[in-house]
């Protein structure tokens, strides 16, 4: 009987194809078998694991207190995996007084030492998992092992170590990260690094300052961005220095920090940043001025509203819309700039945020009536009629509708006549129709002196 290789030689190209067919068929069978077997095995494994987890949860108190000696579960892989997982989950949600017994269990059972050992000596996925587990323990003993991994050649491991330090969330962990960043030129993408630093330095943002002073141009924007999120008012002087930094990213972060921390020096510093040559620094300054919500910042925001960059204008408009009690004055000031785009940006924001509706409602408030009226006339002149017409036709308060009618009559906006005519046609009550007819008459005869009356026939 010829061997398989002899048969292939005898058959020539056909033999090769035959071999390929057999190989493909075997491949298909193996793939299908693998898929089916994997499903079955996973199902079995998960069932076993659930049963074991249930049993462990039943004796959880005894495990944590040490009544069940750790030797009974430490060397059983599935039990150890389950207990470690439950312990770390519990630590994440535990209040400080609940966390202490859990940490004691972690230390006394030798689990912490085992994880530290794995973080130092394992390779691949195992080491990744150990690093992440160490982060979840939130114990200071984990910091040196994690700091060592920051200089590993594998970038996934470096990132995991940084994340784990972030999860520990202690200033010491932050210092370890910062030292690696400044001293050893740690290479990690900014996002995981910044998130880790944010967690570590949130309680003590001052930790960042000495490192910021020493940082080079690559690192300084990264650290400044973190400080931008967590700065406190007592860092005012340091923020002033950052506001004068040569790098625009750092200046933008300084503006962000000023908005968050609101130090005393914020307004003058933001005044400088609002006229920065870089648009994104001006944008951050406008947002920060909005967060300060200080009426003294209004002129700066109005200047920013006339900025050449539309994003700066939009953010300035949003910041101005927060000054609800000064909207009338703001609209007047913006009108005086003569900048059509600035007025459009502001009115759009006021429409969206409900500012125009507030002005309309204020028409019946004797103290605010005059300012609101002037402001609404400004918006009308800028071409925004829709909300006023809506209020005229549908506002729930009849007095507001009358005030809007008076305002429109005063406006001399004759272009409104066809729309008012349509509204008059759609009016349901005689009272509404009388008001609409009166308004129409006023608009049509508006130009003729002596024919206008302030009295609405309602």
């Amino acid at each position: 009987m010829p061997s398989a290789s002899n048969l292939a030689l005898l058959l020539g190209p056909a033999g090769m194809v035959l071999g390929a067919i057999v190989a493909s068929m075997v491949g298909i069978c193996l793939l299908v078998a693998f898929i089916l077997a994997r499903r079955a095995l996973r199902h079995r494994r998960f069932r076993q694991r659930e049963e074991r987890a249930l049993a462990i949860r039943g004796s959880w108190e005894a495990i944590v207190s040490g009544k069940i000696p750790p030797e009974r579960w430490r060397f059983h892989p599935i039990d150890r995996e389950i207990i470690q997982s439950i312990l770390l989950d519990a630590l994440e949600v535990a209040a400080p007084e609940q966390a202490e017994p859990l940490r004691r269990c972690l230390r006394r059972s030798g689990l912490l030492d085992a994880v530290i050992y794995e973080a130092r000596h394992l390779r691949g996925w195992g080491r990744n998992n150990a690093l992440l587990a160490l982060g979840r323990t939130r114990v200071p003993e984990a910091i040196p092992a994690l700091a060592e991994c920051l200089s590993d050649s594998d970038d996934v491991l470096r990132q995991d170590a940084a994340r784990a330090l972030g999860r520990i969330g202690m200033p010491q962990a932050g210092v370890a990260l910062l030292e690696a960043l400044i001293g050893e030129d740690l290479h990690i993408p900014p996002a995981p690094l910044q998130n880790a630093l944010l967690n570590c330095c949130r309680a003590e943002p001052r930790v960042l300052i000495p490192f910021l002073r020493r940082a080079n141009d690559r690192v300084r924007p990264v650290l400044a961005r973190v400080l931008g999120e967590i700065a406190t008012a007592d860092l005012g002087d340091d923020l002033l220095l950052l506001a004068a930094d040569p790098l625009p990213e750092v200046r933008a972060s300084a503006a962000r920090a000023m908005g968050r921390a609101k130090p005393k020096s914020a307004l003058p510093a933001l005044a400088g940043l609002a006229s920065d040559p870089e648009w994104f620094v001006r944008l951050r300054a406008a947002v920060a001025l909005g967060e300060l919500n200080d009426p003294l910042g209004i002129p700066l925001l109005i200047a920013a509203l006339c900025d050449a960059n539309r994003f700066v204008r939009l953010r300035s408009a949003a910041a101005l819309a927060r000054h609800e009690e000064h909207l009338g004055e703001i609209l007047g000031l913006v009108r005086r700039t003569g900048d059509r785009y600035a007025m459009q940006a502001l009115i759009s924001e006021l429409e969206r945020s409900g500012g125009i509706l507030k002005l309309i409602n204020a028409l019946v408030d004797p103290q605010q009536r005059e300012i609101s009226r002037e402001a609404l006339l400004d918006t009308l002149r800028a071409g925004t009629q829709r909300l006023l017409l809506d209020a005229l036709a549908h506002h729930g308060n009849w007095r507001v509708r009358l005030s809007v009618a008076r305002l429109l009559a005063r406006s001399d906006e004759r272009d409104l006549a066809p729309e008012i005519e349509r509204l008059a046609g759609a009016s349901r009550s005689p009272r509404e129709q009388r008001v609409m007819r009166w308004l129409l008459h006023q608009l049509r005869t508006g130009g003729a002196a002596g024919q206008r009356t302030e009295r609405v026939p309602a």
């Binding site: 996925w125 992440l132 204008r313 759009s348």
Partner: protein, 472 residues
Amino acid sequence: MIFHFLTTSNHVLFVYYLISNFVYLFLLILAFFSSAHHQRRRASTRLERLKASPLAPPIALLVPAHNEEKTIVPSVRSLLLLDYPELEVVVVNDGSTDDTLPALIRSFRLLRTDLLYVSEVPTATVRGVYMSQIEPRLLVVDKEPGGSKADAVNAALNAASSPFICVVDADAILERDALLRIMAPVLTDTRPIVAAGGIVRVVNGSRIEAGELRSVRLPRRPVEILQVIEYLRAFLIGREGWAHFNMLMIISGAFGVFRRDLVRKVGGYRANALGEDLDLVTRLHRYLREQKSDYHISFVPDPVCWTEVPSNLRSLGRQRARWQKGLLDVLWKNRDMLFRPRYGRIGFLAMPYHWIFELLAPVIELLGYSTIIIAAIVGVLSREFFLQFLLFGYAFATMISIGSVLQEEITYRRYNDWRDVAKLLLFCFLEHFPYRQLQMIWRLQGFWQFLRGDVSWGKMDRVGFEPRPARN
């Protein structure tokens, strides 16, 4: 002479077929490694931390909509519900003649605004910009019909303000954490990622409520199931493999993230492109290679976008003809990139592959069927060899398809039901006849239409995302 031609052509076709399949086998093996690496990275990133992070860069979702009244409101609602800290949704009503815009105005209390719209990338005339009174993250741009999706996306691009953009089809559903999943690798990669594509899966057959996917099931119709396998193969093997070597030529128009500044730099989407997604990625490669920039265009296999696929042969045929036209349009326009050293591996590997094994595949396949049959009839080809070759082709292609199901099974496991997996495996054996031949005909139609100058999109019948009864 004719015998010689037939013999030579059969040899060439045999080699062509072997290369094409071995490339796919290579990509399959590579995809297993790539996705294992991705899983390792992914295991380290806690998405909820990214979600809570104030440092996540804002993303603008660009949603072109043309006559999408059935799906637009639930789609926009589901987009606004996505987990991401800084989100902006820009919908473009591209001259719809149905109730797309009124439906949006009613549902989101839109107000026409005088917001300044700067047409940095030229588009058809914009009629108005609308902002929502109840949802500050939503912006709707109403424009004259531009005749293409690309024109609508460009209008959205002009209105967007975030540093990253993500183009999403109005009839697509993104999983709640899709943006976090696609951005997590972008933010943690040491390479400078300029664009990333997610996976597009078939929604037909799954249960959707209020614009959200409730349970994943296989569709019922065979034509839809076959497309599920095709999508798995194309995304989990093809794109994963190409992206590994930074040679990804397409990021699906249904779901992809791009750096906005770069998209603007290359002039946005080409308005008259038939395959605007392929065109954009090709132009990004061209621009970045010309600039000698260090960049990476990546594929992220776990953020999922669910999309409705054609459920009848007529719609499917039109779609495939359009895809073929798009491919031809883009490859022809960029033919100067072929074998030019400045375009590196794109010019020497990716582009030639797409010319030979994608664009010309239906022509070569037709030629193959014809010459093999003629050769078998006139006796140049041994009938046994012909049958063996046919069987080998069938078995090899089936193995690749099963490989894609395995890849799905060991990594992302969206189809949890045993019956669905069994059905998928069964259809891996059935897709080669007559579905494959139909595909060839549709693609040849696309070829012919393009050569005749017919560059229309054709209409796709949609069922919409109304709640469908769940199957047990």
